[in-house]
Symmetry: C2
Subunit: 489 residues, 2 copies
């Protein structure tokens, strides 16, 4: 591998110092406006100074994010933010505000936000703050381009080609046949999957619409993501035509249930896609190579900053055939390069955000094995969490078996509930426990974890390990914290 010298760190300082008269500039920020920056005025120093101030605020925030002693959030109600808090005024004016005021606004925006990278933030599948992914996003924002043509995004479209191919290989599809595209999230990826499947079966759908088709039915696991129903509503299939297939206790679709004359059943693995990168655990998705389309969200288990989602389509050419409209003003055929790299017409969007670079850079930074190590660590943490909970008699697992994935669902029983026998009355009380504990956690900013009811099961906590900052001590802390906040409820 070639070595190029990068500018040494000292020279960053020196370069800036040399060019920037810092004292004057700081006075200037309070008297300067956006219109004084590049490109309106040719003031390079002021522009650099402003951006470095922003970075300074961000670096400070990053440090706080990973500091387990800092609060995850400083909770306020919507009306408080709307009305303005301690001078943080969110209303917009006809007139410009100074660069200094903007820096204060940036600080306040972070101050009243939620540190989703905090070691004790377990609230969502997308959590953690990956420094390399972050660097990728900063660069992407600076490059500020659009994925629709190779012409304006040469490096990024080639990176997408490389990554789609890699992901298809990992799934187990032959490398020449497959296709795919990065989309704004898993729901849209699932929509793509159903859209393409419908087109494959009934290509006339594009021109004639649903009224020309026989009745289409979608089969989905009863534990499937709600985006399948959303897609059915959007695509004109109708949610009545989504048939939910019964699942076992673990939430897996029961094959026998599915064998009731399925026209087309599509299974996705949106947040589990990362599991394929673990040689120890990938067997859990065995058979995925037989699927015709797969949604894979690197912004979940792989920790890529939001948004980063791909829909992978096994049959090459289908995606283009399904979606292309050939807008002449964007996709000229008479270009100087191979226009197969103009992927824009495969998308349901026109402009498309560059979500690829951060994933590419993270892959470079970790290698496939780095992702594997991280995912294995989550699995270890889930197993640890399960074992600790199992020993505690005031906690109860929703499904009492060693976790197959990084999520663990459980109830907490305050002492007074332990005397109420299992049944409707106890459920009525138990239903209120998780929301109350969560509300206190949010008010104190100590941890964040999600809860939900499911079928006949009342509100339970849903722990997910997908945050790289989380350690065993944070898991222990969460258990203690739930007991502290819940014991007198």
């Amino acid at each position: 591998m070639r070595k190029k010298s990068v500018h040494p760190f000292q020279s960053t300082d020196n370069d800036v110092k040399k060019e920037v008269n810092t004292e004057n500039l700081m006075t200037n920020l309070s008297n300067s406006y956006a219109s004084d920056l590049l490109p309106s005025k040719d003031d390079k120093d002021l522009t650099k100074c402003f951006l470095l101030q922003v970075v300074n605020i961000l670096l400070h925030y990053i440090e706080k994010t990973f500091d387990v002693k800092s609060k995850i959030l400083d909770f306020h109600h919507p009306h408080q933010l709307l009305e303005g808090l301690d001078g943080f005024n969110l209303q917009l004016s006809d007139h410009a505000e100074s660069l200094e005021q903007l820096l204060v606004d940036c600080t306040d925006t972070l101050k009243y936000g939620v540190k989703t990278g905090h070691p004790r933030y377990f609230n969502q599948l997308s959590s953690g703050l990956d420094v390399i992914g972050l660097a990728g996003e900063w660069l992407t924002a600076t490059a500020n381009t659009n994925m629709f043509t190779y012409e304006i995004a040469p490096v990024f479209t080639v990176m997408e080609t490389i990554l789609l191919k890699k992901m298809c290989e990992i799934i187990g599809w032959g490398e020449t046949e497959a296709d795919g595209i990065f989309s704004p999230g898993g729901s849209i990826s699932n929509l793509y999957g159903i859209l393409v499947a419908r087109y494959k079966q009934y290509p006339e759908i594009r021109t004639k619409g649903m009224r020309a088709l026989p009745c289409i039915v979608l089969f989905v696991s009863e534990q499937g993501h709600y985006s399948v129903k959303k897609a059915a509503a959007i695509l004109g299939i109708g949610t009545d035509n989504v048939i939910e297939v019964k699942c076992d206790e673990r939430g897996k679709m029961i094959p026998a249930e599915l064998e009731k004359n399925v026209l087309q059943a599509k299974r996705k693995a949106a947040w589990g896609g990362g599991l394929l990168l673990s040689r120890d655990h990938s067997y859990k998705l065995s058979g995925i190579e037989r699927a015709n389309s797969v949604t894979w969200n690197p912004h979940k288990l792989m920790g890529v900053p939001l948004q980063c989602s791909a829909i992978l389509i096994r049959e090459k050419g289908l995606l283009g055939a399904c979606n292309q409209m050939g807008a002449g003003y964007l996709f000229q055929p008479d270009k100087l390069y191979n226009v197969d790299f103009d992927t824009g017409d495969k998308a349901i969007q026109c402009g498309r955000h560059v979500d690829i670079f951060k994933l590419w850079l993270m892959w470079k930074a970790r290698g496939t094995y780095g992702f594997e190590a991280q995912i294995n660590r989550y699995m270890e943490l889930a197993k640890y969490f399960y074992k600790v909970l199992k020993k505690k008699d005031n906690f109860k697992l929703v499904f009492d078996a060693e976790p197959e994935f990084t999520n663990v669902c459980f109830w907490y029983f305050p002492p007074r509930l332990k005397h109420i026998p299992k049944g409707f009355e106890r459920d009525q009380e138990l239903q209120k426990i998780a929301p109350k504990i969560k509300a206190q956690m949010i008010e104190e900013g100590t941890a964040m974890i999600s809860y939900q009811p499911c079928g006949d099961k009342v509100n339970f906590f849903r722990m997910v390990f997908s945050n790289p900052a989380t350690r065993q001590r944070d898991v222990d802390y969460l258990i203690d914290e739930i007991q502290r906040l819940g014991k007198d409820l």
Copy 2:
């Protein structure tokens, strides 16, 4: 307004200096990996050092972007990038690469990309690099959260509420009745518009699908955006049921043509939305307040970094009713705050990228009047460009009248074509001129402008003013450059 003191710039340097032993760290970057950064290891200094190095690369790129003497791009073919260029290897490995190598990759990614903020980049509606918007994106990436609930994005969801309200007011809708959501681009916003209109007319569509409905027809301007057809294909309406309404020479829909028994005609103003902010020019969109939905892309005329698009729906409640699926695991009703601010279930997505902060920060930075001034300046440039072209007898305007908007379409005629009489033979030749000039521009990296054919009109150049870095001198340059590259064709 409160004044808080921001950390002075000097202290940015000093803070870093104090904490960071710079010499050792630079040596370290070549021996360090992502796994040495926060949160894996508690090495704050190395993390800061790495991120500051990335920022250094970005600041250098920003300066080059605005330097009119720098090349817009250094063109290479897709296969060259795939094979690797001067050590820039895009292929991914199983093993991690050093932080130093990642910095080199960042530099190379920018080196082989396109400077979309360059003063002579006219290639797309989304162009320019707004420093405030960029700062907003950097902060958004660092906050790395999701728009689906107030819980995890309190500040951003309130900002969205404020901006949607403001945009609805500007359109002329009463402030209590309207609704809307930011979406991943104008095509998706248009899809929302049609989706909600269909639901409004036939609420049973959600459950029963298109087969339960009478035949639905969409009317669209024959010059309308291709996303309407894409939406028709996706929604199960079918492109055969999209009726294109004839337009006049300028490309405006002819009302008499439309008056042929229209069931529901929806007109959007996706890239023109910004025009509403100009008191001089907003009359051109008069009547927009009678529309039931409006797509407004701040990432176009208003210069907000990609992606930033809103769909505004006049009737409050429709968007939610149309799209909600009430996923219990995300949208718990039993929360400690007003859950009306959990906007996630209005969206067709599940996770949703934060596109609001950069717009909010830019609005703070400029005020409404700042956007107005910028848009007026584009209009002036378009008028100037038109006048210059009109005087040159080797250029011909596609529509010969003063521009009503910031786009100007024209042909360039090399001297040899001037002797061929108007007709098929000349058109055959003229068709090839724009692609050839464009290809040379790209190879030399001197300017970028789009071209397209339209109906019976062969390839013409399509100049759009939406780049804040563009000055009159750049317009003059473009004309000279087209002549230089085209005169011998």
